[in-house]
Symmetry: C2
Subunit: 243 residues, 2 copies
């Protein structure tokens, strides 16, 4: 784990790093020492580790809950090079959608493919970050919607250190089997008028989650229009389960 920068603002410390070629960012309360809960965040498609909706949530989780938060670039995103295999599939998929194939199914299949790379990357990330003195081996949460949900479902299913997850804006087409293996509390976000994820597929993914405690929060609006009050709810959810 190679640290690239270290800065603080508004009471939150931000460290950029690289781990086995993957660029990442770690936030924690300024002056933090000792172990604390850690949230792994998965960014959306076409975004990166410091996209505004990631950084806003991360800084509030650090400042208001005292948590550490880590996010890395997904293959082919942010500071990572173009991935030839994924790039070729994405190009093929655009042609298949134009030829009339179902967009939601192609997205789901693509996310399942990418997750075979990100699940081991994120597990190695946990190993490394939890060895830092100001993070330690506290309880772990996961936050990810859209692509972050498609990659998050197999990650949360595979990683026993994750004890609570916020997921959503995703459907069950490719990940129902992984979802059934998730048993930790989940808060699941659904946009009622989502133009990218069919409502029935999103409800099916919530239904497929194996968790005894899972709560679906559905709000009107399109894919990117999650209301601000859900961020407050996310903070309370993680504080309740990891705090």
């Amino acid at each position: 784990m190679r640290f690239i920068s270290d800065s603080s603002s508004h009471g939150v410390r931000e460290q950029l790093f690289e781990l086995e070629g993957v660029p990442g960012v770690l936030w924690a309360p300024e002056g933090a020492a000792g172990s604390r809960p850690l949230i792994v965040m998965g960014h959306g498609g076409g975004q990166h580790k410091k996209a505004p909706d990631i950084e806003t949530r991360a800084r509030r989780l650090a400042a208001e809950c005292g948590f550490a938060v880590v996010a890395v670039d997904v293959p082919g995103h942010g500071g990572r090079p173009v991935d030839e295999e994924f790039d070729r599939i994405a190009t093929e998929n655009r042609a298949r959608v134009e030829a009339g194939e179902d967009l939601a199914r192609l997205i789901a299949e693509f996310q399942a493919l990418v997750s075979r790379r990100t699940v081991p990357e994120w597990r190695s990330l946990l190993d490394a970050v939890q060895q830092l003195e100001h993070v330690g081996a506290g309880p772990v949460g996961y936050w990810g919607v859209s692509l972050g949900c498609g990659l998050g479902v197999p990650f949360v299913a595979a990683e026993p250190r994750v004890r609570a997850a916020v997921l959503g804006l995703g459907g069950a087409l490719a990940s129902a089997g992984d979802a059934a293996r998730i048993t930790v509390p989940v808060e699941f976000l659904l946009q009622w008028d989502d133009e990218r994820v069919p409502r029935a597929a999103a409800l099916a993914l919530f239904d497929a989650l194996g968790s005894v405690e899972k709560t679906l929060h559905a709000n009107p609006g399109r894919h990117s229009e999650v209301p601000d009050y859900e961020l407050d709810s996310t903070l309370r959810f993680f504080a309740r389960h990891l705090g």
Copy 2:
């Protein structure tokens, strides 16, 4: 409005009253003076104005938010006499269910019938309670699930003083038209394994609400198993919109 008793415990004042033959209860912070938000609560089927889930919520709204809360017995419930018309229909419905008719449809039709009585009763209740010095003409909210949703949807649609509502555990079979006329913020509770309300009917009622701001909270479990953390959410929802 005739007051029957007046007592206080744990910082909350409770007044039993009767208004035009309808028994009711009013909660407010002990020593309250001046106007404040008022929540009207509608109880469930077979329950009454002081059922535990009503009283628990009312006392927290009074103690933690400083609100006034009022609930009355629905016709044929609590301290009200048996209503011969409703009693006859309920008996007929039991026979119709045994003969194979759809329970959810019969419940919805029955609630629509009862609401023709309760909507004017609850509007008169608002008139009377808001004249009390320690309640006043502040913003009004409505809370009601199950029967309290079936009666609440037409009430909230008809009553412009209501500015926010918590509804749920009900379906759209009889009330979709009223639901479409509701424009205030709504928090809608749905039990994922509800044995009385088909999931599709509950989702259809949420869908039918005309509100720009509406949020669906769905949790696993049967009709009566709404998790405790939803009560915390109810308090925050009313505090945000009426406080």
